[in-house]
């Protein structure tokens, strides 16, 4: 419990800057994330696509893309486990802090390395393969930069805390702060004492979330899980919308 007491003392020093960074920014980026997606879905369904470049090049993509995507899915699971599930719950089911920590570091590092490796292959491909590069918009470049910075900082923070330092228990600071945002009782003090790499990772992620709806990353939200349950062949009727009207009453077909 010494660690948390230490943070409490540091918390006194957090001021306007802390509130801006750890209260205002998260809410703004969350709002932009949600409303941005709603707006994009209404305004730009046609642009809502993966914009796959597999037609141009497939050798590098076949390695890089699954590596990156499966890596980032595991990273996502790890973040859900680390940020959303309180420490007390894992304690309650008998997972000690040490076990959790070892598990998180091992799985997280493997997933992180896969993600970064995949991303490096994909960025290399995007830059060096002519057709792929010429199909890259400025929006894509900004997105790649922001994504790479966020992932890089995240991996750096983990490595720095666990390999260089003696480990850092973010589940006593970052996770409660993250959850506090959703209780609508945000506590910026929890974040002020966090190592700077973790802080930067969180900030860059918040910025990435704010940009998310305006990039090709939107394809993540329409991951086709419905495919597992729908019938194979989809039948659809011509819509009855503009330019047509329902038959008048009294003309229903006699069966």
């Amino acid at each position: 419990m010494t660690a948390s007491q230490q943070h409490l003392t540091l918390a006194v020093e957090s001021g306007t800057g802390g509130i801006l960074l750890w209260v205002a920014l998260p809410y703004v980026s969350l709002a932009v994330f949600v409303l941005g997606h709603v707006w994009r879905y209404r305004y730009d369904k046609f642009g809502w696509t993966t914009r796959s470049s597999q037609l141009y090049e497939r050798r590098l993509l076949r390695i890089g893309s699954p590596l990156f995507h499966f890596g980032i899915l595991f990273v996502l699971l790890g973040h859900i486990g680390g940020l959303l599930i309180p420490e007390s719950w894992t304690h309650a089911v008998g997972i000690s802090e040490h076990t959790y920590h070892v598990l998180a570091v091992v799985v997280g590092t493997i997933a992180g390395v896969c993600t970064v490796g995949g991303l490096v292959i994909l960025i290399y491909r995007r830059r060096t393969v002519g057709p792929v590069f010429s199909a890259t918009t400025r929006n894509d470049k900004a997105m790649y930069l922001s994504l790479a910075v966020t992932i890089g900082l995240g991996l750096a923070a983990t490595v720095a805390a666990n390999i260089v330092g003696g480990g850092y228990n973010y589940r006593e600071t970052i996770s409660p702060w993250f959850r506090s945002l959703f209780y609508l009782q945000p506590d910026p003090d929890l974040m002020t004492g966090v190592p700077v790499l973790f802080q930067l990772h969180a900030l860059s992620a918040l910025l990435l979330f704010a940009a998310w709806p305006f990039t090709r990353l939107v394809h993540m939200l329409t991951a086709p899980l419905g495919y597992l349950t729908r019938p194979y062949i989809v039948y659809r009727s011509r819509d009855t919308q503009l330019g047509s009207r329902a038959p008048h009453r009294g003309w229903e077909r006699i069966r």
């Binding site: 305004y43 730009d44 369904k45 046609f46 642009g47 809502w48 696509t49 993966t50 914009r51 796959s52 470049s53 597999q54 037609l55 141009y56 090049e57 497939r58 993509l61 076949r62 893309s65 699954p66 990156f68 995507h69 499966f70 002519g130 057709p131 010429s134 199909a135 918009t137 929006n139 894509d140 305006f214 990039t215 090709r216 394809h219 329409t222 086709p224 899980l225 419905g226 495919y227 597992l228 729908r230 194979y232 062949i233 989809v234 039948y235 659809r236 009727s237 011509r238 819509d239 009855t240 919308q241 503009l242 330019g243 047509s244 009207r245 329902a246 038959p247 077909r253 069966r255």
Partner: protein, 566 residues
């Protein structure tokens, strides 16, 4: 019984001269946009040959269509739902651009900009993919008319399935053209492969379409379609396919490819089928029974019970009548001369073909015998195993019997009609020898040789009370070329992002622009446009006079016609 109507096509291959008019007009109408330069909703292949994309029929490689799994149940050849989702990040069997071709344009500007020089300037080919100079090495019809040659014919997938002897003799035998569009299958494997559920089959007329707003570019449909007739637009990241020209068909017009067909070899009409039987027919154990199984799915539109069921299924009366007059129904079921393309893919294709008799006729003629005599022709059909076996690979999963029967029927018609044309006594034994009556034979001749526009295309218009809004098309519009009226420029998220402008709004703007422009073409200075035709003489429209000071006659705030009424 669950009656559904299907818009279908039959092509008479004997009449195809390989002029590619269908391909060109289709391309002009539908795929003259960036991102779909390599896309041919309609293409004409030389057979034997590789096809487009190259060797698309090699399903061991491309994994298209359906197959029966170990339990004898129908399954996607490229893998089921779970496998699709696992491989979604990099589709392992997607054809690359090399399998189609790298589209290009020419650097025409050099021709006008080049300084005076000794040699004529040259317009170099520029890749439309990279924008760089390129060497043209392949294109959509690179092996046009060369299909039978040893260089290209050898690569034909079907030739490798017929015997070695045939392969050696082959180049001396025959060649014909095969126009292909999307098959609008009864059991479409592209739709089944689409993770987003964006590809759908229309309930009313069975046309298979891609909802451009729901497509997310997962590209599984390209793999799923064994005919490789779903294409990936590499600029918009969406799948596109032949639409059976549904905006035309809905108002009773034939598709662009049919309308412009020089040989008049295409027929369009309705087929009624029993939707409950499709799965069972597609699961027929033996590939060679699939042709008959699919014919078993079709319903007789003259059967009173079928009519009653069709009315219960809300099929309008005039559609049922159109199904009765349908040339497709006649060619497939009455005369039995049309065959499906590759029934062994188990998608229940709905564009059928009348196999060409001309290779047989040509062979007989080359021997110096009478090529119109049914005896000679029948003997030749029996003797010329090579074209028959090849056609069987195309149309009946390798079973020569149905192809034999069709060719004999065509040969009988040829011999029987010659007697009539020459004023001789018609020989009733000829139709009889192929199991047809004299009148039926003449009807078939009429449909194949004389049929006019309204007999070849029996297309009932869509009903307004159930119409898809013709105003707001779900798919692409041919006005959507770059800078065209359908585009409105690139949105902030790359090529053609942003909602498609509703056509009513487009019309409004186009009309207003035209009414308010000074010149018919390329109006400039939009703010100074004036429309004198709409000016009723009251006040002065803005732009009529040069801007004066204050509230002079040229003031934009003055009265007159400000907003023209379209």
């Amino acid at each position: 019984m669950r009656v559904m109507a299907q818009m279908a096509m039959v092509m008479n291959l004997d009449k195809c001269i390989g002029c590619h008019t269908c391909s060109v007009t289709c391309k002009q109408a539908w795929t003259n946009r960036t991102g779909v330069e390599y896309v041919w909703f309609n293409n004409v292949e030389t057979r034997p040959g590789q096809g487009y994309p190259r060797r698309y029929e090699d399903q061991e490689r491309w994994r298209g269509g359906w197959e029966l799994n170990k339990k004898g149940r129908l399954a996607l050849k490229a893998g089921g739902r779970f496998k699709k989702l696992i491989t979604i990040f990099a589709n392992p069997v997607l054809p690359s651009l090399d399998d189609y071709y790298e589209p290009w344009t020419y650097d025409y500007e050099t021709l006008t900009n080049a300084p005076l020089q000794e040699h004529t300037p040259v317009a170099r080919p520029k890749s439309l993919i990279t924008g760089k100079d390129m060497k043209i090495s392949w294109s959509a019809n690179w092996d046009d008319d060369l299909g039978g040659s040893s260089e290209h014919g050898e690569k034909d997938v079907l030739l490798n399935q017929v015997s070695e002897k045939i392969k050696l003799e082959f180049e001396q035998t025959f060649m014909f053209y095969l126009p292909r569009i999307c098959e609008h299958c009864l059991n479409p494997s592209c739709a089944a492969s689409c993770p987003s559920g964006a590809i759908y089959k229309r309930e009313e007329d069975g046309i298979v379409l891609v909802d451009q707003d729901k497509c997310r570019g997962w590209r599984m449909c390209v793999t799923g379609c064994p005919y490789k007739k779903v294409y990936f637009n590499h600029r918009t990241g969406k799948a596109e396919k032949c639409t059976f020209c549904f905006p035309r068909v809905e108002v009773g017009l034939p598709t662009v490819c049919s309308e412009t067909c020089v040989g008049r070899l295409r027929y369009i009409g309705l087929v009624l089928y029993d939707a409950d039987k499709v799965l069972e027919a597609a699961s027929t154990p033996d590939d060679k029974d699939l042709y008959e199984a699919q014919r078993g799915v079709f319903l007789d539109p003259d059967d009173p019970q079928v009519i009653a069921e069709a009315e219960k299924a809300d099929i309008p009366r005039d559609w049922i009548e159109a199904a009765q007059r349908s040339p497709i129904h006649a060619l497939i079921n009455t005369f039995k001369v049309a065959l499906p393309l590759h029934p062994e893919y188990r998608t229940m294709p709905m564009v059928w073909y009348i196999p060409p008799l001309s290779p047989v006729v040509d062979a007989v003629r080359d021997t110096g015998r009478d090529a119109e005599d049914h005896g000679n022709l029948f003997a030749a059909v029996d003797a010329l195993r090579i074209p028959v076996d090849y056609l069987a690979q195309l149309f009946t999963a390798g079973d020569p019997a149905p192809v034999d029967a069709v060719l004999r029927r065509l040969a009988a018609m040829r011999a029987y009609m010659r007697d009539i044309n020459l004023g001789r006594e018609p020989d009733a034994s000829i139709p009889e020898s192929v199991g047809m009556g004299e009148e039926q034979m003449y009807d078939m001749y009429r449909l194949l040789a004389l049929a006019k526009y309204d007999e070849r295309y029996v297309i009932p218009a869509a009903h307004a009370e159930q119409a898809h809004s013709l105003e707001e098309l779900a798919t692409e519009c041919s006005l959507d070329y770059e800078g065209g009226p359908g585009m409105g420029g690139s949105g902030p998220f790359g090529e053609t992002s942003g909602g498609a402008a509703p056509i009513a709004v487009e019309n409004f703007h186009a009309l207003r622009d035209r009414q308010t422009s000074d010149t018919p073409a390329a109006p400039t200075g939009k703010e100074t446009r004036v429309n004198l035709l709409n000016w009723d003489g009251k006040g002065s429209p803005p732009g009529l006079f040069p801007p004066g000071n204050g509230d002079g006659p040229g003031s934009p705030d003055s009265g007159g016609e400000v907003e023209p009424r379209p």
